[in-house]
Amino acid sequence: MPAAPSAPLGGRQLKQRLRRIQRRQALRAFALLAPLMLFLAVNFLLPITLMFVRSVDDPDVRRVLPRTLAAISNWDGLALPSNEAGAALLADLGAVENREDLSRAANRLNYDINGFRSLIFRTARSAGRIDATHAMDALGALDQRWKDIETWGAVKRAAGPTTSFYLLGALDMKKNAGGEIHRVGSERAVFTLVLARTLWISLWVTLLCLLLGYPVAYLLATIPSNVANILMILVLLPFWTSLLVRTTAWVVLLQTDGPVNGALRWVGLIDQPLQLIFNRVGVYIAITHVLLPFMVLPLYSVMKSLGPTTMRAAISLGAHPFTAFLRVYVPQTMPGVFAGTLLVFISAIGYYITPALIGGADDQMLSYFIAFYTNETTNWGLAGALGVVLLMMTAVLYLIYSRLAGGAGPRWA
């Protein structure tokens, strides 16, 4: 940088230079932050936005059946649509050139009604041969399902460009052909139950972690540091092992003829082996084990900063040691408790592998279904909608929680 001119500067010039320097400094600071911001944008904001978009986006049927959708745009959904709609469907299906587009649209309709995929392909194969003047009758003769109002209702529901189909589906609800929202039959209603179960399991895991983690953290914070360091390694050890390995290890330990049952039988506590795996008990044990460090560490960091003096003062003033602990020590550790429970609860909500391998069929959590619809059936709309529901639920709980936690808990700002 060239040396400053030697002539004295006026006030205005000085201000200008100061501003320039400040601007440069701000720019420099931003340049340092830029990679992080970009990282956040690419890895957090973008996927979450895409998830929201996916959950309402519905472009596939529009692309393939524009005439049909125009023909039924004013249809009331109370009786079968007019012949015009049938003719439009035949024209649309006859004009499809891109089989990939047709496949997408057929998949989308199949999400709504079982078997719609083959119905579309079957109809498309015969579309050229059908006389459009009696299109509705011919369609009905080709396949009974075209005589069903709900078949046409499904086409209308998929009109796009946006849809509430997935979000309603994620809450076990559906619109009928007439546009009224109702709950799906109990043989298909699964997501509200699974959501409640996800929250329930997470709540129990959080309580178990607190119950087990609090004494451990207390011990770590109060014993001499050389011993504490060794114990701390034991707490952190699970972090160094793959989640999958730990989960599989629990399968070995907890199985019917495994070491845990063996030991219990050997000491004579039980006669018959306990069922510890492929049920809720196994899920609680394994998730609690995995998440325990997330509880111990925040508690430890808070407890470490508390000296023994306040407790001593309380006892010297006549409090029973237990009362002193409960009324003086515990309140001071509340920030750690809030941070720990929040960390554990939110991590537990997203658990997937552990319940899949250790739980039974009625222990699956919501992420299992998100993975299922993402990977197996490519129903990304429903996967996105389930993700949105989970995110919303977590956000609401977080808000309630931080309100309850008051000054002790983490705040938005």
């Binding site: 440069r24 720019l27 420099r28 340049a31 340092l32 830029a34 990679p35 970009l38 990282f39 690419v42 089989r99 990939e100 047709l102 496949s103 997408r104 998949n107 199949n110 999400y111 079982n114 078997g115 719609f116 995929r117 083959s118 109990s186 043989e187 298909r188 209603a189 699964v190 139950l193 699974v194 179960r197 199985q255 019917t256 003829d257 495994g258 795996i277 492929f278 899949a356 391998l357 039974g360 069929a361 009625d362 699956q364 279904f369 299922f372 619809y373 993402t374 990977n375 197996e376 059936t377 490519t378 129903n379 990304w380």
Partner: protein, 349 residues
């Protein structure tokens, strides 16, 4: 000076962030199959001889299915697999969606060189596999012989393991309820038939342990956690060979299906991938596969040349095929979504 340094660092960080996210580099020919004893056998009879013969390096990966994964790979423009072993429903869906390259049937020797159903426009059959009743011969001297026995907890006390999902499970339930194998899908295509299958499953529900990965059933049988399994035969028979187990398989009422090789669209290794697929479907290569993997092969000529001692343990053996039920792929492409939802709702109660 300092600023330009910072810019440099930021640019480098940017490159790292974007590089990790979007980069598509030149890479070796990669094949992804289903792991376990089957892929170990493929490595021996296909990948290694191919690499030795052509000098093309073959990298391996494994997966456990899901058309979503293939769609992400192809449409994301960052497909790091070239040749993939897929299940029949993925072969249909993926071909319809244009995720796969078309097969060159001239190079493959024509569609007639393969067993029925193993030749499609964008996929060629790789293996014929079977799922069905497996039990530990060391536990039962006179073991179960049918799905009705699988449901009979009085005669054969103990837990059973089934796949956590409706596929194969509903078929088994209907056969246990007395539906003839030939009528299973006809029955499942009616709402009453589906209700009937779930009702039959209700009976056994307290005694079922569900499996998710194909490697679980042999482990569950070996540890004594369950006494019977509805599971892949090849894994059980491979465990007999590798670990000296005495697992027995029941061919009547088993369900068989074909897996396929596909080439992902837009791969930079298209030519080498096609060569590998051709190599892997030649009779002289395929015939070495069943003795290692206990799965059937798709080459008509190759099937005749398989070691006679191994023939009775593979799905394509005529006596086994006659009593088995071919998986109705079209039914599952249509119904997978909703039957899964119903299965999960049922399992949750």
């Amino acid at each position: 000076m300092r600023i330009s340094n910072l810019t440099g660092i930021s640019a480098a960080c940017l490159a790292v962030v974007f590089g990790a996210t979007f980069s598509a580099q030149a890479r070796d020919l990669t094949v992804s199959a289903w792991g376990g004893s089957s892929q170990a056998a493929q490595k021996k009879v296909y990948y290694e001889p191919f690499a030795a013969k052509t000098g093309t390096k073959v990298l391996e990966d494994s997966w456990s299915g899901g058309i979503g994964i293939l769609r992400t790979k192809v449409q994301g423009g960052n497909a790091n697999w070239d040749v993939v072993q897929v299940e029949a429903d993925e072969a249909i869906l993926g071909c319809d969606e244009g995720l796969f390259e078309k097969m060159d049937w001239k190079a493959l020797g024509g569609k007639d060189a393969f067993v029925k159903g193993a030749a499609t426009d964008c996929a060629v059959g790789s293996v014929v596999w079977t799922t069905g009743l497996v039990y530990d011969g060391a536990k039962f001297a006179d073991g179960p012989k049918s799905w009705a026995d699988f449901w009979d907890v009085k005669k054969f006390p103990g837990k059973r393991t089934m796949r956590k999902g409706p596929k194969y499970t509903l078929e088994s339930a209907l056969m246990a309820d007395g539906v003839a194998p030939a009528d299973v899908y006809k029955t499942l295509r009616t709402p009453a038939g589906i209700d009937r299958a779930f009702k039959k499953l209700d009976e056994l529900k307290p005694n079922i342990v569900w499996w998710t990965a194909g490697s679980q059933p042999p482990q569950l049988l070996a540890s004594g956690e369950v006494v019977m399994a509805d599971a892949y035969f090849s894994r059980a028979l491979a465990a007999n060979k590798a670990d000296g187990r005495k697992f027995k398989v029941v061919w009547p009422g088993s369900v068989y299906a074909i897996d396929f090789w596909v080439i992902l669209k837009g791969t930079p290794n298209k030519e080498a991938a096609a060569k590998l697929v051709t190599f892997m479907t030649r009779p002289e290569q395929q015939k070495g596969f069943p003795p290692l993997a206990f799965q059937g092969i798709t080459s008509v000529e190759g099937a005749k040349q398989v070691d006679a001692a191994v023939q009775p343990s593979i799905p394509t053996y005529p006596a086994n095929m006659q009593v088995a039920l071919p998986l109705d792929v079209e039914f599952w492409v249509d119904n997978n979504d909703q039957l899964n939802q119903r299965f999960n709702a049922w399992a949750s109660k």
